[in-house]
Symmetry: C2
Subunit: 715 residues, 2 copies
């Protein structure tokens, strides 16, 4: 790729970014777009719809940038929770790393690379006509002593990243503990989920749970709530809600109340009556279904068991309860509103098998995805494209078009295809047996991350063939050598990728294209403007892997092609401002994992470092500087040892809280007068929402009767 092609791409994307910023600055001030751009403020009642029109609404103003910039970490913590803080810290962490690497890269490595004459001399007269490869390590001749600059850079950046990783892990651990100390008593701190409950003949799950915990945890056991099979009930409730909404809509609308629908065969009937009758039917069904569900026969072998103290719950979670470790399997309960009810498969074997199936599905998906990657590969190699489609030849000779195609289109296609990956991965995670949204997203985040690394990085680097990739993995000895050949060759593609995918994704995140279009489409059909506003939650499994992947690109390419770093820094600055703005205006936290996403970030960074070091070994071998390649060897070993140490030092705190902390919190609660009330609420906190009383029609009182069986009342 020539410098000019890159410049084209930079130009297009800068233009797009500016356009998005301006459009955003204007559109966000229009009351009709409040649902899209400030749903959070609306829902919290902090922003009223201004109906009056004034000119100010049409002039773009950058005030929001200032507000986002000024937001302090404590404010973010109090409004969006620790997860948002961790997310923002990933960006600041990357900024620090790439500022450091950028200084080295731009001021030391880039000039060194330019002095090489392996490819050909730089044409300073017409800079844009130079190949981007001239600025990469490929331009240095073999055995050049100047490669020691790269060697030092590899050591320096590794040390810096490791130091920062340690510091961040420590900081976030402290934040996590502090957060735990500062929260009010919450149901999930006192509760565990027990699965694979064995039931003896003639007794219900509820009785088994009661008997077991009264026997083995008599002093701390509080109550339990058995999970029921409610998928049918849930769909009924969904139907009822939909009908109810339509009915109230009809009743409230004076124009439509008298409207009589003309049926297919010309029969006329009152629509309100019709819906009313239908709703009553469904309610009747609901009643029947509920009485059925509450029977022991519909119990799933799983229950939420609550304890009187956090420590009691933690002890029950940490200890293996039964002689058979596949029975009475305990895990920490999620927050009540975080529970994912639809998939509550109970048996140990079933969950284990579904996990294996999901792994196989992921592998299959990864292989399938190589098809679009191959197409993209074809586009970057214009010559091949001309061979495949000869009729394109005439168009491709136009410089601008060919530059757009090589510089912009490939990344755009990849970007579009990548859009569908997070939802698929989320779906796969949801059938894997996780019981809460946060775990599903965490698992999906991991899946998307590895999928991206594999399918964008490795597939692009190793030019796409599955078999070729697999054959490389199966010959670990050759990995560094092959990486050394293949990775620098793709430098220009990835620089362009950062510009297109990174910049575009950041600004489209700000502009919220899809919600915006969706709201435009929906507006004519939506009737009542005062519908409940749905405040979205940030999809960590979509955004975190993207940032981490750019981190991987930056770390692996910083010494190969330092030119990538300025573009990366621009992306990170954009992301910094935009995500902060979105946390203020758009996203509300749906759950709180208290920083459990950080270990994913840490692992990803360690992987990036080791990959970079492997490439360094290969490069120095390739450039016939064998002393340097030997001296790089200790680096991955040290990095992995560092990682191992961090796993021992910090990771346990991200899995469960230590005894010290739990007991301290429990002691504080002892003098709290509100605890009685909390315990009362705790008993019903994990009631399945499908079993909660709902009332639609006035003559359906019986639905209000609470469906809590005697056994589930607080013991």
């Amino acid at each position: 790729m020539l410098v000019s092609a890159l410049l084209t791409s930079v130009g297009i994307n800068s233009g797009l970014c500016v356009l998005f910023f301006i459009l955003y600055s204007i559109l966000r001030k229009q009351p009709s777009n409040y649902e899209v751009y400030i749903p959070r403020l609306l829902a919290e009642g902090n922003s009223k719809r201004r109906t009056g029109f004034n000119l100010e609404r049409l002039i773009p103003s950058p005030g929001w940038v200032k507000r986002a910039w000024k937001l302090s970490e404590d404010d973010l913590l109090s409004t969006s929770g620790l997860d948002a803080v961790v997310f923002m810290r990933v960006i600041t962490f990357s900024l620090r790393v790439f500022l450091f690497a950028g200084v080295i890269g731009i001021f030391v490595l880039l000039p060194v690379n330019c002095t090489g004459d392996q490819l050909n001399d730089i044409d300073f007269a017409d800079l844009s006509n130079n190949s981007l490869d001239l600025f990469t390590i490929s331009n240095l001749e073999s055995g050049s002593k100047r490669l020691w600059a790269h060697f030092s850079a590899v050591y320096l950046v590794t040390a810096f990243v490791c130091y920062l990783l340690y510091y961040e892990y420590k900081y976030i651990t402290a934040k996590r503990i502090a957060y735990f100390h500062s929260t009010k008593p919450q149901p999930h701190q006192f509760t565990i989920l027990v699965r694979s409950i064995p039931v003896s003949a003639g007794s219900s799950v509820s009785e088994s749970v009661e008997r077991f915990f009264l026997e083995y945890h008599p002093f701390t056991y509080l109550s339990h709530m058995v999970v029921h099979r409610t998928s049918k009930l849930q769909s009924l409730i969904k139907d009822a809600k939909k009908l109810y909404k339509r009915l109230t809509h009809l009743q409230s609308d004076p124009n439509q109340q008298k409207y009589r629908h003309i049926g297919l065969f010309g029969r006329k009937f009152d629509l309100v009556d019709h819906y009313g009758k239908k709703l009553e039917d469904i309610e009747e069904n609901l009643r029947l279904e509920r009485s059925e569900v509450s029977l022991a026969a519909e119990e799933v072998g799983a229950a939420f068991v609550s304890f009187k103290t956090r420590y009691g719950a933690a002890v029950a979670f940490h200890m293996q309860q039964s002689t058979n470790p596949t029975q009475w399997v305990t895990e920490q309960a999620p927050e009540p509103h975080d529970v994912y009810w639809p998939f509550f498969s109970s048996s140990f074997m079933k969950r284990w098998l579904s996990k294996i199936v999901v792994i196989v599905a992921c592998i299959f998906l990864t292989i399938l995805f190589l098809i679009p990657v191959l197409v993209v590969q074809g586009l970057t190699n214009l010559n091949q494209l001309e061979i495949w489609f000869p009729f394109l030849k005439s168009i491709l000779t136009i410089t601008f078009i060919s530059q757009v195609i090589t510089g912009y289109l490939p990344s755009l296609i990849l970007l579009l295809f990548l859009k569908i990956v997070p939802p698929i991965m989320e779906f796969l995670s949801s059938i894997q047996g996780y019981i809460c949204h946060s775990d599903i997203e965490k698992s999906a985040c991991n899946k998307v991350l590895w999928f991206t690394i594999w399918n964008i990085f490795f597939a692009t680097v190793f030019s796409g063939s599955v078999l070729y990739q697999v054959s490389i993995i199966l010959e670990p000895k050759n990995i560094p050598a092959r990486l050394a050949v293949a990775v620098p060759a793709q430098a220009s593609f990835f620089i362009a990728y950062v510009v297109t995918s990174g910049w575009t994704s950041a600004s489209s995140e700000l502009f919220r294209i899809i919600p915006f279009i969706w709201s435009l489409i929906r507006k004519p059909f939506s009737c009542c403007s005062d519908e409940e506003i749905e405040v979205p939650a940030i999809p960590y499994h979509r955004d975190l892997p993207r940032i981490l992947f750019f981190g991987l690109l930056g770390i692996t390419y910083f010494f190969l092609a330092p030119l990538i770093l300025p573009f990366l820094l621009v992306y990170l600055c954009l992301a910094y401002v935009i995500y902060r703005n979105q946390f203020i205006n758009v996203y509300a936290p749906k759950y709180e994992t208290a920083g459990k996403f950080w270990p994913i970030v840490h692992n990803s960074m360690i992987f990036s470092l080791v990959l970079m070091q492997a490439i360094a070994v290969g490069i120095f071998t390739l450039k016939k500087l064998s002393l340097a390649s030997t001296l790089v060897f200790p680096l991955p070993v040290l990095t992995l040892l560092f990682n191992e140490y961090c796993r021992k030092r910090f990771l346990p705190n991200f899995i469960a809280y230590p005894a010290e902390v739990l007991i301290k919190r429990d002691r504080e609660d002892r003098n709290d007068p509100t605890m009685e009330e909390f315990y009362d609420n705790l008993v019903t906190a994990y009631q399945d929402p499908a079993l909660l009383p709902i009332q639609f029609s006035p003559n359906a009182d019986s639905l209000n009767s609470p469906l809590i069986s005697a056994a589930e009342v607080r013991h």
Copy 2:
């Protein structure tokens, strides 16, 4: 190797075995050998030394075989503990597997192999002149349909082994739980070891421990015992004991009492006085050292913390105590007499680093060991030997000598070199940071096992070059193909290995050559026949890997060279009788892990199965039966899934006992009147033996003062 060479080897070894059996039958009846052959019975007082001479003593009698055979599992459990039962079950397990495989191998596969004509036809007239390879799978021509017999055998044996593994794991788990229920209260059930105790300025470790556990485990905490640095003390006590022994010996011997030693310069002095004075000096030193050691300055940041209930101890063990997971690190306490005091390194980092160092040392040792393996390789290839040492040519032409050299010498050399491996591995494990003999032996057992597999199996198969081995490991894709070529080629070596190494080791285990020779040497110098008899413990880390390695050989070779199976069965039968006899007469249990060795056995078997399946894939590919090699592929996947299931289903019970079991036992104790006394003993159970009062000279009363500080007295 020719059949005749094998027969020579079989002949020599059968002869040796018979000789050992006869010698053993006679020698064990001589009172002077009681310490060697029935130390356990002697120590237990079950056998008196008969001084009278009678002819019966000189006639070999097989009565011991009958006694060993008749020993029931319950008897073994009560006399030698669960570990011995598990050890014997490894042998019976192997017997079952190889009986099943033997029936298939000898009656189906062996005839099938003989029908092949790949090498050349079998010379039925002179069987002993046939190459052993004629009986292996190598004799079958490529693409032969008869290979499906081997294919079915692989599936059948895998299924059978997995079934047996499941059954055994379940059985031993049940035994383990039953054993726990049947034992009396034991100190280690109520105690945990806490390491990396942080000490605030101005307070001692003891105070820190007290404060911490009183705060966080107020209801269950009983007492604690801080570990002191006693290595100097230990060596002093050792010296004192030696001197004391010599002194009492001099005093009791009427001939030597008046003996006056003539010094180097002709000076005469009373030896008794001399030793007495020396002993008093040492005692003085001991006193000084003890008062120093009991100071807080000599405290190690580690303590044994005892609880009032088993469940209390288990909770403290399972929970992460401190916010910093590298502090207050808890682990289960070993039995008091099992504690390994010399290496009590306390800091988390130090232990972690020593572990890494030990791993590196193991790798280094493994590489170093390839030298003897290479020598052995040279011996099996006589031609090469002739090239290296031309002067041997004349000797090597003598058939018998060449047969001894190819059939017997190589395995013998390996055997001798292998003798030194277990002690080295035990030493390495002991500096790795384990704090009890049982853990050290368990770790050494693992090390010896993998060392054996790597250095005997893979080094022999891949003809010894480290670099070649490593290059194979680094190309996992080619492993099956290379195994398929190399493994069958070494069939005759391993058949000979089973005969020489296996049979000899079993019979020398019976005859106890080294202790016997040692007792012969020592006898003239040993004065008093009523010295304390040291009852040895079975070195699991020496014997278990050997049996497991034969298991690996059997499983990998059963379908390649079924001829190995009869020899293996003979070995296992010998081992069955001999080890049972040794458990009755020789070995007393030194500790009780309650079956914790079984997971090692399970893993080793799973590894053997997967290795066998990989070879099968390679062989079927090599023999151009690609359908079969494809169909074998699911087998390792299924085997590993099975292993994963077993890990989840059974392994947790081998790490710690579940809450259910612990609480039941605690309840039973509540009504036990002897518990008061037990608690009193528990407080001092983990006193360092070096700090226990010992008295040598009558004027050293002050040594008797117990050295327990106030803080360590039961709270």
